[in-house]
Amino acid sequence: MRRYVFRRFIVAVPSLLIASLIVFTLPRLIPGDVVQLMFEEKSYAKDIEEMRAKLGLDRPIAVQYVEWLGRVVRGDLGESLWTRQSVVDELGRRLPVTALLGFEALAVAILIGVPIGIIAAVRQDGPLDFVARSAAILGLSIPAFVMAIVIILLPAIWWGWSPVSTFVRFSDDPAAYARQFALPATILGIASAAAIMRLTRGMLLEVLRQDYVRTAWAKGLRERTVVLKHSLKNAVIPVVTVLGLQVAQIAGGAVIVETIFGIPGMGQFLVEAILQRDYPVIQGINLLIVMIIVATNLAVDLTYALLDPRIRY
């Protein structure tokens, strides 16, 4: 196991290097002289030469990349051109916000998706299954931003009540800080919950038809034991894979939900950075996202072994 983990880390290194090269190169491939544009639009420097120097563009590209990578390894992602703050500090302020939102959304997705998927599978073609499947289709069909607007606006119109309030900082009120994510996380998690529910149902139905499950029934085991102890573990392995993919989906959805709910997380920051042509920040966020995706995939692979003892690395 340890060897496997070590091997996976080693494999992750080239992935990260390739990703860093893409993250570094992409802004330089945008048509037109981006530096000229940034200078004219944003007045980030006194003159165009200072602008180039600020971005480190006054040296050969290979040198630039090696220097940039060296700084990244030392934890220095440069300075935001817009806010003039260290990119690491900026991300450090926003990452916990988005991470908590994403974590709560994932929790919502699991807590809704897995139990309902199990019930729908166990009560296949019954009324509960029908309702669950219909709800899942609805959850998958309605985009998060539509759901967010409806949930925000309708109570305000009907009852003069709005769930949205100004963002509370952790230092001001830790409980309110955590609470304020509940609604956006639910909205963000619902689409993922629908996907997880459908997959859990499908996989569980397949497992429930296996011989060893039939044997368990024949032994007279209780339904709970057959389903939760003997069937579910085998059924959820693909679900875990999908959960990994949901991380990326939730990260994408967070961009919109954060804007609607006024949550100052990474999603909003990325949008602002793109609009502001703040390339150090764009590079920093993209690199961070790549690292999170790589780490998530690693975590998913390791979870397989925990769920299924037959899987050995």
Binding site: E40, S165, F269
Partner: protein
């Protein structure tokens, strides 16, 4: 020289006031607010308002012209003179009153002397730490204003030749030429007096920490994408003001969540620009917030069409007329959530400048026709101009920043043009890029944007049509027009100046130097517990909210 306001200025102001009152009484806004009650103002509380964007352009008033910067600055800074605010000032009128200046005089046609209030102190914040404001600060501010590269508002004060500070409380402006609008220019919401120490410490004024002014509130905290929080300036130079202890400005880009916050009583003022509520939402707002106070008036804001007028096909007046005749302003406003069909027609000076905007029926015959929508006539004009099959072109517009209603209007315009044979390929740009490049002439054929930042009427023709002006992006160089613009600037007699400005507007319409446009008749709304408040056009939220108090 006298120590008070000179007669010439008073006369003009008095006359404007009288004209304004008559105009408003006849055709002006219909105020729905309850009459000011004779109550003793209460101190304390927090005024809760919202803006639709972060100050993405930073906090330096000399490096942007954008409202997203100027509105937040209006709470914290002062200027020499300002547009008066309060319940006795009707929207669409812009009377001036002293701000940091105690008095002023015009000693000759090109010299203004201002006496500053004594004992005005900067916010008690580093690096200025509450020291006294002096004439050197004013001199430093306006010298920087005129010297910072990329200051889009430079034309506001470009008539200034030099600024002198003969003593601690006196500032003398010597102009290059007579400028009858100089006081109005100084009342612009770009002329905030800044502190030298902040520029020296921070390099420029883009950072929130550099917001140190002499205004009624101090910027205590900027949480990007969340809020701007201001607290009372204990040193504010007007005794007793501001009434509110604090101002909380919610930054919310989403119109639905802004509206929900207002309906839920989490904001004291309606959630759109200038505390406007969309007419689409007005009924539900009145139902949810009983006794809501409202005022109806015309926005300055309207479409701004940029054309490369020195190049074909736009160098042909018939093509320019066709562009206007092809657009149905009624269709634009019918589908607009703000106006729901309620709008006013704008000549070159928007109708929201009630004293200076010429009534459409007083334009010349060709000018009046511009406002008559006719696809057939537009096609005929194009045929006469040698484009029987129309032509293809490109139009740039900001894809962000002005909201969905603006984009709807752009789509209707492009559709109308296409029906007349003008096939304009729409290129959407990010707001920041648009505001800092396209509107300064970096476009190939046409652009559609918004205008309406200026409360002085001269800006609408001087800055747009005078040769050499950064915003003369159409490269208009028309000697007749230039002469008229110069003449009105030299004319201190208000009725005479008004006639010249009417002539300018007639000429601009005849030459179709601008796309016909219109402004929404908007409704501003605020909670019944907010007293002593009246909305108006312009970025000066802070100035208008300063005298408001909370009756709770």
């Amino acid at each position: 020289m006298n120590s008070g306001v000179p007669d010439a200025v008073l006369t003009r102001r008095d006359l404007l006031k009288a004209v304004g009152v008559v105009t408003i009484a006849v055709t002006g806004p219909q105020l729905r607010s309850r009459p000011a009650e004779a109550q003793t103002p209460k101190r304390g509380g927090t005024l809760r308002t919202s803006v639709i964007s972060d100050p993405v352009t930073g906090f330096d008033p000399h490096q942007t012209i954008s409202f997203v910067t100027m509105v937040p600055l209006s709470f914290a800074y002062s200027r020499l003179v300002k547009v008066k605010a309060g319940p006795d000032v009707k929207p669409m009128t812009y009377p001036l009153e002293p701000d940091l200046a105690e008095s002023w005089s015009r000693t000759d046609e090109t010299t203004y002397v201002f006496k500053l209030r004594k004992g005005v102190r900067w916010h008690p914040k580093p690096p200025v730490n509450g020291r006294e404001l002096t004439s050197d600060d004013v001199k430093y501010t306006y010298e920087r204003f005129l010297s910072v590269k990329n200051n889009g508002n430079r034309p506001v004060l470009e008539s200034v030749e030099r600024i002198e500070a003969p003593d601690k409380y006196t500032v003398k402006f010597v102009l290059k030429e007579p400028n009858a609008w100089f006081l109005d220019n100084l009342a612009s919401t770009s002329t905030w007096i800044i502190a030298k120490e902040c520029v020296e410490k921070f390099g420029d004024l883009k950072k929130a920490e550099s917001v140190v002014g002499t205004g009624p509130w101090m910027l205590e905290r900027w949480e990007p994408n969340v809020r701007l929080h201001y607290v009372r300036n204990p040193n504010y130079f007007v005794p007793g003001l501001p009434y509110a202890d604090a101002v909380d400005v919610l930054i919310d880009k989403d119109p639905s969540s802004r509206l929900a916050a207002f309906l839920a009583g989490k904001l004291d003022f309606a959630p759109e620009y200038q505390h406007v509520i969309r007419r689409l939402d007005l009924a539900v707002a009145k139902q949810r917030r009983p006794n809501l106070q409202t005022a109806e008036y015309a926005w300055f804001t309207s479409f701004s069409t940029g054309l490369k007028i020195d190049k074909p096909p736009f160098n042909d007046v018939r093509v320019r007329r066709a562009l206007s005749r092809a657009v149905s302003l009624a269709e634009i406003h019918e589908s607009n959530a703000f106006s729901q069909g309620q709008y006013v027609l704008n000549p070159a000076v928007p109708a929201a400048s009630a004293e200076w905007s010429i009534p459409i029926d007083q334009l010349g015959p060709e000018g009046r026709k511009l406002y008559e929508f006719s696809t057939a006539d537009a096609r005929r004009l194009l045929t006469e101009a040698g484009h029987p099959n129309g032509f293809k072109t490109e139009v740039e517009a900001p894809g962000t920043g002005y909201g969905p209603d603006f984009l709807d209007a752009v789509q209707v315009t492009v559709k109308n043009w296409k029906a007349a044979g003008i096939d304009a390929d729409l290129k959407l740009k990010e707001y920041g890029a648009f505001i800092s490049s396209t509107i300064y002439g970096k476009f190939d054929h046409m652009f559609l944007g918004l205008r309406g930042a200026w409360t002085d009427p001269e800006a609408y023709f001087y800055r747009v049509y005078m040769p050499g002006q950064p915003l003369n992006v159409m490269n208009v160089n028309d000697p007749k027009l230039t002469e008229m613009i110069k003449l009105q600037r030299r004319t201190f007699d208000v009725p005479k100046r008004k006639q010249i400005i009417y002539d300018i507007q007639r000429y601009l319409a005849e030459q179709a130097y601008f796309g016909t446009n219109s402004s929404t008749k908007v409704v501003s709304a605020w909670e019944p517990h907010i007293k002593n408040y009246m909305p108006n056009n312009g970025f000066d939220y802070g100035g208008r909210m300063m005298a408001a108090w909370i009756d709770k």
